[in-house]
Amino acid sequence: MVTKLAVREMWISFRLLAVLVSFVGVGVTVALLPAPLPTMMPRLAAGLGLATVVVAAITAWSIAEERRSGRAGWLVARSVSRGTVLGGWFGAMAGPAVIGLACAGALGWLAASSVSLRLAPVAYVAPLTAVFATALGAVAMGLLAGMLLPAQAGVSVVVSVGLALGLAAWAAPEAMALLPGGAFVALGSLTEAVQGAGGAWRASGIALVAAGALLGLARLAVGRADL
């Protein structure tokens, strides 16, 4: 019920469209600008990284606005548990993000297979899976920021963390192996010559652990938040 309300609220306020467009737009851009794999994959990775930050920012804004407007409180005052409100918003944000990411991934695969026939599907799916896990972590981070801070501050924090991870990935890609943003480095470095999936699976694991930890913290935060 909370997810349904949240999705409808996002649809009416064009935020759902923004989430879908930010991911699908990356796929479309990559598909419309054909390039060799060493150019295309970093573009795809950077675009999906930016879209992930956008999703985290929209999540932080949305949940902070739910608190400020009293809508979260309206539900909690009617026996809906705080955990259900949090879970409902996680579903409402993660669902469209995963759908948008799947579309972007499919478009990216079509673009990549049009310039290279030697790219193994598993080598492409592994870093994309890591990006899925990272997107879930980004949604969890947005929920945590939105529960703790007002909308603008929450968005600022989320964008700052996203940009810091992006800068780290650009400046020291090897250091990203142990950070949640490693998925984008693994996707960006994918070429015909480098198709090992080990790093990508490790990035998936790290991102999932980070997502779980952030969700746990968000659950603690919602338990203490003023709704």
């Binding site: 019920m1 309300l5 409808r8 609220e9 009416i12 400020r68 407007s69 009293g70 809508r71 409180g73 309206w74 539900l75 909690v76 005052a77 009617r78 026996s79 809906v80 338990g223 203490r224 003023d226 709704l227």
Partner: protein, 240 residues
């Protein structure tokens, strides 16, 4: 309803108060946020850091017996009033004819016109939001109603009429910055100072003391009582 030593942030500090069934209590405070905080804690929107709260003899799980209306209506603008009431009824476990009857009565009480009931609230003004928030609060026929600066978008006469909710066993708490405008709604007043209850009195006591039901009148009565209490305590303290 009973609060013992409830503490929450800077606004409530070991706040204790007991309100009997059927009381219509106006809660004012210095600063005002304490009164709002008390109602939000009672509604479950803020968690107290410490203390005990009991409503209808229960120390939890009273949400279905308590309704809260705050300064923000907390309703999605794209919903129609009927959708809001259906949702509120569903969350309270009311379904079918019972829910429809409750919704119709609540909409009628809140003066939501039939033509407004089935169109999105974004097409109406702030008063529609607040009327629907009131109707959604009343749909479950709550025993305790917590009003935190509600219906300020309505004129005073209409607001007083809507908030004079009948029922001899219904307990109503009103947090207000403008006690004079809520005079007709209250049978008792409570003053919170520094997060604690400094005074609990009936409105008749204010009248008997020739004081108006205003912030200054309530503070004056609290000061007189405090002075009287210290006079009584003086010789005892000196003897001990």
């Amino acid at each position: 309803m009973r609060c013992v030593d409830v503490t929450r942030g800077p606004h409530l500090s070991r706040c204790s108060i007991s309100v009997s069934v059927g009381t219509r209590l106006l809660v004012v405070s210095e600063p005002h946020d304490s009164a709002s905080s008390l109602l939000r804690v009672l509604a479950g929107l803020s968690r107290p850091h410490r203390g005990i709260i009991e409503i209808a003899g229960l120390s939890g799980g009273w949400e279905r017996r308590v309704a809260y209306i705050g300064p923000e209506p907390g309703i999605h603008a794209w919903m129609t009033p009927r959708e809001v009431l259906d949702l509120a009824a569903g969350l309270l476990g009311l379904h079918g004819a019972e829910a429809r009857r409750g919704a119709d009565l609540a909409l009628d009480w809140a003066h939501v016109r039939p033509e407004e009931a089935d169109r999105p609230m974004s097409r109406g003004g702030a008063s529609v939001f607040q009327r629907v928030a009131l109707a959604a609060a009343l749909v479950g026929d709550p025993e305790v109603i917590l009003l935190d600066e509600p219906l300020r978008a309505l004129d005073e006469t209409e607001r007083t009429r809507l908030l004079t909710i009948p029922g001899p066993r219904r307990t109503v708490l009103i947090a207000s910055r403008y006690p004079a405008s809520d005079a007709a709604l209250a049978s008792h007043v409570a003053l919170l100072r520094n997060g604690r209850v400094a005074m609990l009195a009936s409105t008749a006591e204010l009248r008997d003391a020739d004081l108006p039901l205003s912030m200054s009148g309530i503070c004056e009565l609290a000061d007189r009582r405090a002075a009287e209490a210290s006079r009584h305590a003086g010789p005892v303290a000196a003897a001990s």
